[in-house]
Amino acid sequence: MHKEPLALLPEILLLLGAVAALLAGSFLPRRRQWAARAGAAAALAASLAAAVVLAPGDDRTVYAGTYALDGATDAVRVIVPAAALTVLALASGRVRGDRRETEFCVLVLLGSLGAVLLAGASDLLLLAVAYLLASIPLYALAGWGRDARGAEAALKLYLLGVLLGITMLLGTAVLYGLGGATDYAALADGLPGAPRAALAVGTVALLAGPLFKAGAVPAHFWVPDAASGATVPAAAFLTTVPKIGALVALYRVLTVLPEQVLQWRVLLAVLAVATMTLGNLAAFAQRDPLRLLGYSTVSQAGYLLMAVAVAGRAEALRSLLLYLAAYAVTNLGAFAVAAALPTSRTLEAYRGLGRRRPLLAAALTVCLLGLVGTPPTAVFMGKLTVFSATWDGGMAWLAVVAAVNTVASLFYYLRWIAPVLSIRGPGRPPQDAGPSGGNGRRREAAAVAAEPGRWAAGTAVAAASVTLVLGAGAGWGLGALSDALVR
């Protein structure tokens, strides 16, 4: 048994950061809580730095083969803290001075830790623990705003999460019974002799958990409610960070399954098609930009699942990791724009944004076109590599379906971009357009709007720039990623 606590430094830093922030937040007066937030950001930055330093180390498993340290974990240990830092930045204006400011940071840290553990778990039991760690903080995060819509989002997330968590534990138990072990290396040896029906039941039940975290069909029902009900920064976190861990977890666990016994690739391909199609179709009719973004993240999960469907074949892992990084920064950029304009809750409210806030409008356009997959943004490179890997992996039809879906997605992204860039037409002040909340709340929201604006707008512009830079530097990015996977 390898015991190497230092090898887990990035994870430990996240945990220590969460504990320290919680303690500090308990004793600091409300006006000084920014110190806890700064501490949380420092912990994330330190974790990121530690991950970069540790990345060149040997690919191996530690703690009796339960946790893998390889290319996939290295990448996730960088992407997740970076995404969490972005969330903290875009949340700055919204959470500052709030009575639950510290809680927000602690929950973000714990949720990030859960996502990293999901990605690194090389043992079914650790996967279950990571699932819980990645889920429970998010229930609280969804309801962080303490309003009716947040409560609804949290409750929906909670019920679905608990149900699918138990299903996942059931799958773990079945697979343990079939394979005689819970760590992936032993499972890979033990499962090929298993009866097909039992293996199928166990696999499907196990997949429920990661699919829920990824926001993929059929476990996607929480996504739109969380995206529009939770506070915008929380929604940005919920729809971005768990996906990163969950998809790598899926990838890892699927490579263990014996392909000759169970045709799991077809299952994943069907799930991918269903996810991207349902997400796109549902997004068509949305008038609330956040709900639209929520469904867009569902469809993005579908494209990401394509890489999982060809798991283990050429370039699949690297393309998945590149797409995850690209998706994270682009999606957060779009949410940051929404966070900068908290009172614009309809697409129509964005009319004339290009004239009022040209930089913000440019950032939104770049991010939305990026989500479509327009070059030279990062998601285009992600899509390109994922499509190529899928085609190369023998699933050309899946790439064609995804391209058709990309066309379909264009319609709803353009429905948002068009009013933003519209030069003529009356630019109604966004305050008049908020559909929800009473008058008093609206005025209050308008009063604080100026402040969330600055940090979130800065984050949006930064994210849009990064998505362009990452697109142009995709060669470097791909080179830095390793496709080593150990178990």
Binding site: L369, D392, V407, L410, L414
Partner: protein, 498 residues
């Protein structure tokens, strides 16, 4: 040097969008200066190009993991189109100098146009499929912004959306085709020269025709050919004059250029097998475009439909070049040369016609030909230029259109005699419709929707006249152009007949 040429307009665009306080006059002159410098750079590139083969090449790894590189270069196919791009953009910049009443948002307009120029130049210089696709998509975004932001008419946003959706769908088909080529190549690469040297998907199988279909649909939407042309008339009608000129003169060429650069050399076997399809689509586009143009009462829509007609000739020639069994190499190479010259010629003439249509719109607020009449009296210079452009457009000897169409017909006649004979009818219809349009606009009793005021202003004259002068130059002295195009056309023909 080539990279500088490609990215200089983008740099200028960034400067323009960053400097908010610039006075309008400075913006206009900066725009003209940068466009002029571009034309100069392209001229130097052409002068220092020692063909045949690829010159001014840059090949750097960009995304080695995905097989894509930053590979650009020029040859006899791309140089004329680069020159055309620089010329037309300069004409648009000069055209915008007239600005008597301050144009709304001239700074952003100029920045957008310069950025668009980079995408056009980059596309014609690209020797990598991903680079090609990148510029292809960005040109769509840029043109969408031009039409949606500066178009006139109630329908501008709608037309822009239609344009965007159509061409974006086409671009995704293109991307699928590119990925198909990539996965079929060994080692995996997106490099056009490598793919052309060792074509993947040879030796039958279902993949080749499907990939060709995907690429052909993508390019045909952009070209556009029948039946994918329906986005073109509304986009042109609602775009601003300079936008229309660039859309017709440069952006449409991306489609036809893609056929010559990508589809023919990389998929020679499938091109040969399905050449008849392209011939048929070409002939239908020729006849359909001409007949529908005849029925238009809107001057700009009419010119837009003649674009469908003119692009049809190109497809006819390229299809004929694939009929290896039925024509000798010289004829096929003549057809390809004619196709490339037609791209240049159409760019010059249609660019001029759209700018002149912009003059009509500005003076009278309408393109309806019935609202005008007898313009030769009050606006003699406008009338003269319109007449010259119309005659050039119908393929009168002495203008570039004749050189191009003559070569196309001469090259195609041996391979596809019936189709060529049918396409010749298109010339007849085009001649009729241009003359009829001239008749309605310029002759007869004087009619005008509102008093037209002065004749062409210097900026308008200086933007339109050089385009037509170039067309005349190519028509009278075509050798300097043909010497560059012919070797490259022969190479393409060799590649197809492998």
């Amino acid at each position: 040097m080539l990279s500088l040429t490609v990215f200089l307009p983008l740099a200028a665009a960034l400067v323009l969008s960053a400097r908010r306080g610039l006075p309008d006059a400075a913006v206009r002159w900066l725009w003209v200066a940068v466009s002029g410098a571009e034309l100069g750079l392209v001229a130097v590139l052409w002068a220092t190009y020692d063909g045949p083969g690829i010159g001014h090449e840059t090949d750097r790894p960009w995304i080695p993991g995905a097989g894509a590189g930053y590979h650009i270069g020029v040859d006899g196919l791309s140089l004329p189109l680069l020159a055309l791009t620089a010329t037309v953009f300069l004409a648009c910049a000069v055209y915008s100098l007239r600005g008597r009443h301050a144009r709304h948002g001239i700074r952003r307009f100029a920045a957008l146009f310069l950025a668009l120029e980079t995408t056009c130049l980059g596309l014609f210089a690209a020797l990598d499929l991903i680079l090609f696709f990148l510029f292809f998509d960005l040109s769509i975004v840029g043109m969408y912004l031009v039409i949606a932001g500066w178009g006139h008419g109630e329908q501008a946003a709608r037309s822009a959306l239609k344009f965007f959706l159509y061409t974006f769908v086409g671009s995704l088909a293109l991307l699928l085709g590119f990925i198909g080529l990539y996965t079929a190549s060994d080692p995996h690469t997106f490099d056009i020269t490598e793919l052309a040297a060792d074509p993947p998907l040879e030796g039958g199988g279902a993949a080749g025709p499907l990939v060709l279909l995907a690429i052909a649909v993508g390019l045909a939407v952009k070209t556009p050919t029948f039946p994918f042309h329906t986005w073109l008339p509304p986009a042109h009608t609602d775009a601003p004059a300079a936008g229309s000129a660039v859309l017709a003169a440069v952006l449409l060429k991306m489609g036809t250029y893609g056929f010559v650069r990508i589809a023919m050399p990389i998929l020679p076997e499938d091109w040969r097998a399905h050449a008849m399809v392209f011939v048929a689509v070409g002939v239908v586009s020729v006849l359909y475009g001409a007949l529908v143009a005849l029925a238009q009462s809107d001057f700009k829509r009419m010119v837009a439909y003649t674009s469908v007609n003119h692009m049809g000739y190109i497809l006819l020639a390229l299809g004929a070049a694939g009929m290896v069994a039925d024509a000798d190499e010289a004829a096929r190479s003549t057809a390809v040369t004619g196709a490339v010259v037609q791209m240049v010629s159409h760019g010059l003439i249609t660019g001029a016609l759209f700018l002149l249509a912009g003059v009509l719109m500005e003076r009278g607020g309408t393109y309806e030909m019935d609202a005008w009449g007898g313009l030769a009296g009050p606006m003699p210079r406008f009338a003269a230029l319109t007449a010259v452009a119309a005659f050039a457009g119908l393929g009168l000897p002495g203008f570039s259109g004749f050189v191009a169409e003559f070569q196309i017909f001469a090259g195609s006649l041996g391979a596809v005699p019936v189709a060529t004979a049918l396409a010749l009818l298109g010339i007849l219809v085009t001649a009729g419709l241009f003359l009829w349009a001239l008749h309605r606009l310029l002759l007869g009793a004087r009619r005008e929707p509102r008093p037209v005021g002065a004749d062409l202003r210097p900026a308008e004259l200086l933007s339109v006249a050089p385009l037509l002068a170039l067309s005349l130059l190519i028509g009278v002295l075509p050798r300097w152009l043909l010497d560059t195009v012919e070797p490259a056309a022969r190479t393409v023909v060799d590649l197809v007949s492998r």
